[in-house]
Subunit: 694 residues, 2 copies
Amino acid sequence: MEAGMTLVYLVSFFAVVIAMAFAVYLHLWVKKQPVENATIIKVSDLIKAGANTFMRKEYKILAAFSGVVAAILFILLPQPIWKGGSIMNNVYMVVAYAAGTILSAIAGKMGIIVATSSNGRCAEAAQKGIAPSFLVGFRGGAVMGLAVVGFSLFGVAAVLLAFGNTTISLGFSFGASSLALFAKAGGGIFTKTADVAADLTGKVELGIPEDDPRNPAVIADNVGDNVGDVAGMGADLFDSNVAAMTSALVIASSLGATGLANIAMVFMYAALGLISSIVGIATARIPQGSTPTKALNSSTYVTSGVFVVLTALATLIFKGFSWRIWGASTVGLLVGVIIGLATDYFTDDSKPIVKKVAHASKSGSAFTILSGVSYGFISALPAMIGIGISALIAYKLCQPIGDGYAMFGIAMAAVGMLSIVGTIISNDAYGPIVDNARGLAEMGGLGEDVIAIADELDSAGNTVKAVTKGFSIGAAGLTVISLLGTYMSEANAALVEAGKALISGFDLLDPIVFFGMLVGAAIPAVFSAMLILGVDKNAQRMVEEIHRQFREIKGLREGKASADYGKCIDIATAGALRELIPAGLVAILATVAVGFIGGPLAIGGFLMGNIVSGLLLSLFMSNAGGLWDNSKKYVESGHEGGKGSEAHKAAVVGDTVGDPFKDTAGPSINTQITVVSLVASLTSALFVAFSIFK
Amino acid sequence: MEAGMTLVYLVSFFAVVIAMAFAVYLHLWVKKQPVENATIIKVSDLIKAGANTFMRKEYKILAAFSGVVAAILFILLPQPIWKGGSIMNNVYMVVAYAAGTILSAIAGKMGIIVATSSNGRCAEAAQKGIAPSFLVGFRGGAVMGLAVVGFSLFGVAAVLLAFGNTTISLGFSFGASSLALFAKAGGGIFTKTADVAADLTGKVELGIPEDDPRNPAVIADNVGDNVGDVAGMGADLFDSNVAAMTSALVIASSLGATGLANIAMVFMYAALGLISSIVGIATARIPQGSTPTKALNSSTYVTSGVFVVLTALATLIFKGFSWRIWGASTVGLLVGVIIGLATDYFTDDSKPIVKKVAHASKSGSAFTILSGVSYGFISALPAMIGIGISALIAYKLCQPIGDGYAMFGIAMAAVGMLSIVGTIISNDAYGPIVDNARGLAEMGGLGEDVIAIADELDSAGNTVKAVTKGFSIGAAGLTVISLLGTYMSEANAALVEAGKALISGFDLLDPIVFFGMLVGAAIPAVFSAMLILGVDKNAQRMVEEIHRQFREIKGLREGKASADYGKCIDIATAGALRELIPAGLVAILATVAVGFIGGPLAIGGFLMGNIVSGLLLSLFMSNAGGLWDNSKKYVESGHEGGKGSEAHKAAVVGDTVGDPFKDTAGPSINTQITVVSLVASLTSALFVAFSIFK
């Protein structure tokens, strides 16, 4: 290995070690914080046990699923074994795939462990004031952030170092995507199943408060926050981060002679991003007179600033690092921030849109829905423009470097946007921790003042969520363009081998491409629909179980007997995974079917249609959901008639519709896009060998 | 002119004359039917007067708008006048544009005249039985169908004959699109404004029935059915039909030496389609023991069969007519039928989906919305696949003929799908006529039996609407691909003139194309959102007016004084046009902005993104709306608790959300796509001359 590359790997592993050490320190720090209230300890243990139940089942099913996928990979990829190439590459592919699932799973598990032990401590720390309570919540989330980014960088570097082949790296990325599909979409179905069932039976039928322990679904509901928003979100961003790095690596390695410097740059940027996140996380706290929202946002800005400076220094120092690529990465980061701010405009309740939807609710729930759908549609525009413009600028900046660099520039813009993902995840995971803490403070009877502090922390979590969501969708948008570039590299490699003409691009006017686009564009819609219907079906199963418990457990209604929380968790778990699999299969089988009908060109169109409509729908659903959620909160805080008014009833309908939009379908679309992109890249050789048309 | 072409023009004009004569005959036949009931005559006159008010204002604003557009066209197109080419071409362009708006306007006006004089006669004919009543409704609608197709064929032929230049034909098509934008989107806002305001004040606040004459919005509501569903739908299909023919002509004329035979084929197919529609219309009636649904569907099948046979005969007889192109056109027609059947599956209340949504309504309106959105998303898939596959087959069939024929094949598939548009419009316009007739039968006190017959006719109208809607969306899908081809021809002509490199295609991996695609994909979402919000705002204005009337007109509540219906019609009219213009401008300005940023390649991406997301959203919104409408009717017919139950309340919310989806936004997206495609084609020379990137 070249000395430069050795250095880069050393820097990468060094960053990973620092991050892990810091994560361990934070974890120990959290564990040192006191938790004494008996109710809080009890409920928090129930939540932890429930989350573990889900994770265990999920990982068991995932293991079976991965076994099947691994067998297919072994037989077919990177080359069918009957073709008589080196069988070792197929073994490597399987190993890389397994590593991708396992590392992501461990990161998710670590996040859950810390999150479920932070929530009670965060609640009790609120007795000492907002600043200490904030620190517990934020540092609990940061463990997840550091674990995800550390493991993803470690995995990508280790796989490339071990196998020296970027096609095998795609296997690692595919492993991460498989896990993300289960964790994000499965966790999303779980959390909304429990949420909807708990609301329907508790608030509507029985007239008991949201977090009443008599409701058998109440623990499942809290578990859902953790498995959906902590583990699911972590797996999603693990997946995006790995996909961005891997596609940058695949493109870099196709750049020929100078590819090594470019590969070095990918790792260096990722390592510096991790170090910047550590700085951002370490410095986050609430100074005198500040607010949690400011503290969270400032950690994002500190990380971004440090990253821009560090990468500029690296470009200055290292031979072969281009300023143009630095520019592309900086543009990516900047556009991420801009998208976040635009999202904020549409979902923040101090801005006009949320107020308009709350006002429309006065005319009835149909108007809550119509105005939310409309503003949700409009909210997609700035992000779509932002992603398009950043791709355009990155491309134009890097094109002069040489052939193929334009696409590399786009990949590096995605790496830039994702550079601060450690901090982003910390901010995101902070949300469910303080949300749980709020519930625990109420159940543990810590008093009004403490609840008020927990409320403030919780509301800050909701506000910054908009900005972090902007990043993840924007990054997914840029990543998938580079995944399309990756797909073309892979397809061309297969075409060369088959002695066929190379693909030079995907022409929109080619009806084969057009056919693929139309089908690809429909898939995110079908996928989301299946997840939403899955939540619906699963919630009905849980409602039946709750009815059964109230019928059969004597004294439950009076609070004299304890509910069987485990049963509800089991139903949510089993149902989530059962409903998820058909949706995932539809997306994967559609990719394969389009490939067999139209060959590699149709797949190119399919991926692009999938990306374009996927981005549109995920922005629409995430933002509309956030908008409805905050409109409901705005009404509840006393506007437009306040709690119990007609406007409130209508706003609740909006929120219920928005729940699976923003927590199940919307964010799962990113994963769906990555999964089909990787399936396409991995199977491109098969479609080259056989397709009906062309 | 070649003898063959002369013959083709003669056949075309002959078909037009026959169609017009037949339309006049049908109109006179309808006028001969008796209408005697005084209430029916009075109300029907109010509806007619209201529709005329709207049409007059609409045409006045359109005239002003067209004046501005005509001035811009004159200065810039086909070539800026300062460039010193022949100024006469610019004059021709203006003339063609004006002709497009005027012919479409006349066709719409004719449709409204006959529809508003058929409704009362249809109601009274129901006293004699279902068969005579059906004939009045159907023949009233058929006048519109014949006028639209006759005028569109006449206009396209006359413009080409007069100016001999297919670029000028684009001006005619743009005129038709401008009118369609006003008629379809404006009419759509009008009809839903009145519907929503009438329901909100009447049913909800005052507790009076839907068609109670004390409600000042009741006439506006009936007027809405006519201006939205008759005139609007007619203008929409006039536009699609003209666009399909024009783009086939532009592509045919670029095919060089044999272009003449291809141009002849376009006209011949259109003329034979018109003749087939006449046969289908003339033979439609309800035989003993049959139902109106069967009669309507059989007129569609008769027309299709006659068209396939006649075009086969023409291919046999005429030298230069290719069987491959006949195949493409037949595939287009067939796929149209299949899309219609798929739509029917998702929206027909005898099929499972409607029942599922009705059942979900039992859990509350949030579940009505969630399940409707989900199935609406899924319903887009078959149509997307169908459009993609038909483009693929048409392309593959025609590619062997020679260079450029593949795209011509797709254009002819669209012409094939639209060949039976005369019958389609007749079926569609039948709907609002029998809908009005049902209301008139009730107001005129014609008795239970007559109302039952009117109900059966009305329900048949709703059922076949699904099939006809499938055709219009499918045809729009195919037409716009050929419009994209047209755009490339136009852009290349401009590039040749500017001495720049030609465009050979639009590569998805080119970030300029990608940028355009992302923005283009967001536009249908923003456009629909603005229309929906427009309905909302406008309905609020009308609600205020209704409140004012009840406050200020003494005796209105007791039915002793008459409401000021005209004021409500004025509000709906003014508001509809006011809300429409910004939405239209956003679409047009976005096209121009993308062109100035990214040049002709970005526009190619923009159009494709627009088409793909536009098709997805229009299928989603149209089908979800139809689904909610029929779910409500299904509940009202006594299922899931029937009228007044919780499920019914929830189903009403779904229907209210669905109304602007299916009658305003969904069907207007087609027009939006056509408008931006034509704007792009017409302005391509400007972007070639100037753009920031590339």
